[in-house]
Amino acid sequence: MTDQSAFKPNTVYVIYIAATPEQVWQALTDPAFTRQYFGGFSIDVEPRQGGAFFLRYPDGRVHMSGRVVEWSPPRRFSCTWVVEGMPEFRELPECLVTYEIEPAGGAVKLTMTEAHSWDVPEDILAGGRQGWPAILSSLKSALETGKALEIKMEPPKGMVDAVRRAVAEKPWKKST
């Protein structure tokens, strides 16, 4: 079982969406829906705590894998993430991604928190800080207008080198 307290939130993104909590929950967990707004990736998740979680490329290969830490529809969905689809990245410790859905004045407040169990360099955090605003802006458009945004899913400059350095040095082994 994943010890959530070992993870420190590094990136938090909040967006408000004109939809119901159930619609936002579906957008986050339904493969046909994530394919629209999440750079073509389909979610594949066992709907229970401890269940397997994958994000798959359109051809079915695994991009991300993990475990469901919390499954509380339509309020909270939390799972661990390991990047499988890019060399080196899979050697990094898993991170914890949590979506929180709260009603807010006829709309919904969606909060995404990306948390890590080690002291992650800024160049690696940059991946999520670049990606989440695009992904969740696209989710909001898909729910409100039926049309997702076009988003780029490439790692930002400097991230791949930073991952290689981290994998070589393994700072997470020293820290505790």
């Binding site: 408000y16 004109a18 807010a104 004045g105 709309a107 802006s137 696209s138 049309k147 945004l149």
Partner: protein, 154 residues
Amino acid sequence: MSDKPSFVYVIYIAATAEQVFEALTSADMSERYWVGNRLQSDWKVGSPFALQLKREGNRVTGTVLEVDPPRRLAYTFHSQHDGLDSEGPSRVTFEIESHKDQVRLTITHDEFPPGSKVFEHINRGWPLVLSSLKSFLESGRVLRAPWYEEADAA
């Protein structure tokens, strides 16, 4: 990391840079997506800036620092309401980048005085205001937050 707080928020909008710049400067458009709050300025560098809040007598004032349509806009931000007027001004900067038929809008709100109370307010406020601006430009809808109702009732 410096201990000076800084708020950075990015949102993508299916609109042109010109539409986003207009929404960030138009009194009438702001009144809709900012749900009753109204921007007031002639948007010349050095001119006064004001955000007239819906609650009577409440406003944010400042000075226009940069105007480069449709790419960049900056002003100082000095809250005059809820006992915040004794706190010195901070700075708001918008950057608009176009990618095909969509825009990446970045707000940086920084230069807060030490121990700023305004910082807490804007952390809660900007994600809602910019989410509403996005909805307004993409679908003509606007978003309201529960604390607007609380403020109306107060």
